[in-house]
C-alpha cells in the first residue's frame, strides 16, 4: 500500500497558524496500515497540538474525525455537513486523499499532515520498503519479480551496467545491492536465465503528467 510518514509537529503547527476551528480527518486505508494517519495517530496529533496551543496561549481548537478512505468519493462526501463548520482541515491521508478532500470542499483550506513516500510492502509492523514506482509498464514477469525501475539505482532495463562491485554491490554505493545481480540470481534459481539473454525494446515507462484510468465496463 501507499506508505506515508507524519510531518514534524512544527511544520503542522505552522500550517494551521491563525485558524480558529480546525478539523483533523484521518484515513483508515493505507495511512492507517502504515501507522501514519489512523485513528490513534489522529488522537495523538490532536493531543500534541492542544498541548502546544495551551502552552502558547493560542485559542485554536482541533477536533477529530475518521473516514474509511479519503481517496473514495462516497467516503469523502460523508464529510459533508460536518466539515463546513471548520476554518481549516488537517488531513492525515496520502497525497491523493488530501487532494480529493480539497477538491470536494474547495472553500476550506486543507492541510496535509503526512508526507507520502512510496508504494511499498509491510515487511513487519513499522518496517516498510518501497517496491513499486508505478511506471505503468510492469516487467516483473521478465525479471523474476524484482523491479528494475525501483531497485536499480539507474532503473536499467536490459541488465546491469558495467559497475557492479565485488559482492554484487551497486557502483553508486557499497551499501546498495545491485538489483540486476539479484535478478540474475533469482532467474537462475527458477531456471529462466534466457530472459536475461534476450534484449527487450525500451518500455514506455510513465511520463510526467497526471495518470487516468477508466475501466472498459464503466465507459
Amino acid at each position: 500500500m501507499v506508505k506515508s510518514e507524519i510531518k514534524s509537529i512544527e511544520e503542522i503547527v505552522d500550517m494551521i497558524a491563525g485558524y480558529k476551528k480546525v478539523l483533523n480527518v484521518g484515513c483508515a486505508g493505507c495511512a492507517s496500515v502504515c501507522l501514519a494517519g489512523g485513528q490513534r495517530e489522529v488522537k495523538q496529533l490532536n493531543t500534541k497540538l492542544q498541548f502546544h496551543f495551551k502552552s502558547n496561549n493560542i485559542s485554536t481548537t482541533v477536533d477529530e474525525y475518521m473516514v474509511e478512505r479519503q481517496c473514495e468519493t462516497q467516503f469523502v462526501e460523508s464529510l459533508k455537513g460536518r466539515i463546513e463548520k471548520y476554518d481549516a482541515v488537517i488531513s492525515m491521508a496520502c497525497g491523493a486523499g488530501v487532494q480529493y478532500v480539497a477538491e470536494h470542499f474547495p472553500e476550506i483550506p486543507i492541510f496535509p499532515a503526512l508526507n507520502t513516500l512510496f508504494i511499498g510492502v509491510n515487511k513487519e509492523i513499522g518496517h516498510y520498503e518501497e517496491r513499486c514506482q508505478s511506471c505503468g509498464d510492469c516487467v516483473l514477469g521478465l525479471t523474476g519479480g524484482i523491479c528494475p525501475v525501483t531497485m536499480c539505482a539507474k532503473s536499467l532495463f536490459n541488465g546491469p551496467c558495467g559497475g557492479p562491485q565485488k559482492g554484487g554491490k551497486c557502483e553508486v554505493s557499497m551499501d546498495i545491492d545491485c538489483a540486476w545481480v539479484a535478478i540474475y540470481e533469482r532467474l537462475k534459481k527458477q531456471g529462466r536465465l534466457d530472459n536475461i539473454h534476450k534484449i527487450y525494446e525500451t518500455r514506455a515507462w510513465k511520463s510526467q503528467g497526471q495518470g487516468t484510468l477508466t475501466l472498459k465496463e464503466y465507459q
Binding site: 484521518g26 483508515a28 486505508g29 492507517s32 496500515v33 489512523g38 485513528q39 490513534r40 474525525y65 475518521m66 473516514v67 474509511e68 478512505r69 473514495e72 462516497q74 465496463e217 464503466y218
Partner: protein
C-alpha cells in the same frame, strides 16, 4: 446474487479451511473475555454512533465464532450475513487492539477467506449497487 442461492455451501471445504488455523483461532476465540474493551479501537464503532455491531469482538464472534461452533455447517444465508458483517462493518485497517492480546485482524481476514471460498465476497462499492453482469458471473467459485 440469485445464481448462488441454488448453490449449496460446501461444508467439507469450510471445515478443511477452518482446520488449517484451528490451533490459533480456537485459542483466540477461547481467550476472548467478551470484555468489549476493543470497541474504541475501531474507528467505525466511534463514527457510527457506537453501535455494538461494529465492535471487533462482535464481528469475530458472530462470524468466525459461529463457523467454529457449527464446524462449518452453515447455510448460505448465514454465510451471506457473515459476509455482510465482515465486509460492510470492517475495512481491515488492522488497527483493532485487544486487552488480552488477541490478533483480531487476522481472524477477520481469515473469515473473509472462508467466505470467498464459497463465493461470498464483498460487493464493491458497498452501498452503491451490484457490479456489472460480466463480473457477477466470474464471482462464483462453486
Amino acid at each position: 446474487m440469485s445464481t448462488e442461492k441454488n448453490n449449496p455451501v460446501d461444508h467439507k471445504m469450510i471445515k478443511e479451511l477452518l482446520d488449517e488455523k484451528k490451533s490459533k483461532m480456537k485459542l483466540s476465540l477461547a481467550a476472548c473475555a467478551s470484555c468489549s474493551l476493543c470497541a474504541e479501537s475501531c474507528f467505525m464503532f466511534n463514527i457510527y454512533d457506537q453501535k455494538p455491531e461494529y465492535m471487533p469482538s462482535y464481528k469475530v464472534i458472530k462470524s468466525l465464532g459461529v463457523l467454529y461452533r457449527k464446524q462449518g455447517k452453515v447455510s448460505r444465508q448465514t454465510l451471506e450475513k457473515m459476509g455482510d458483517l465482515v465486509w460492510k462493518n470492517c475495512v481491515l485497517c488492522g488497527r483493532c487492539y485487544c486487552a488480552v492480546g488477541i490478533d483480531i485482524p487476522e481472524m477477520l481476514a481469515f473469515t473473509r477467506m472462508i467466505c470467498r471460498s464459497q463465493g461470498v465476497d464483498g460487493v464493491y462499492p458497498h452501498n452503491l449497487g451490484a457490479p456489472p453482469a460480466e463480473c457477477e458471473a466470474l464471482g462464483s467459485e462453486n
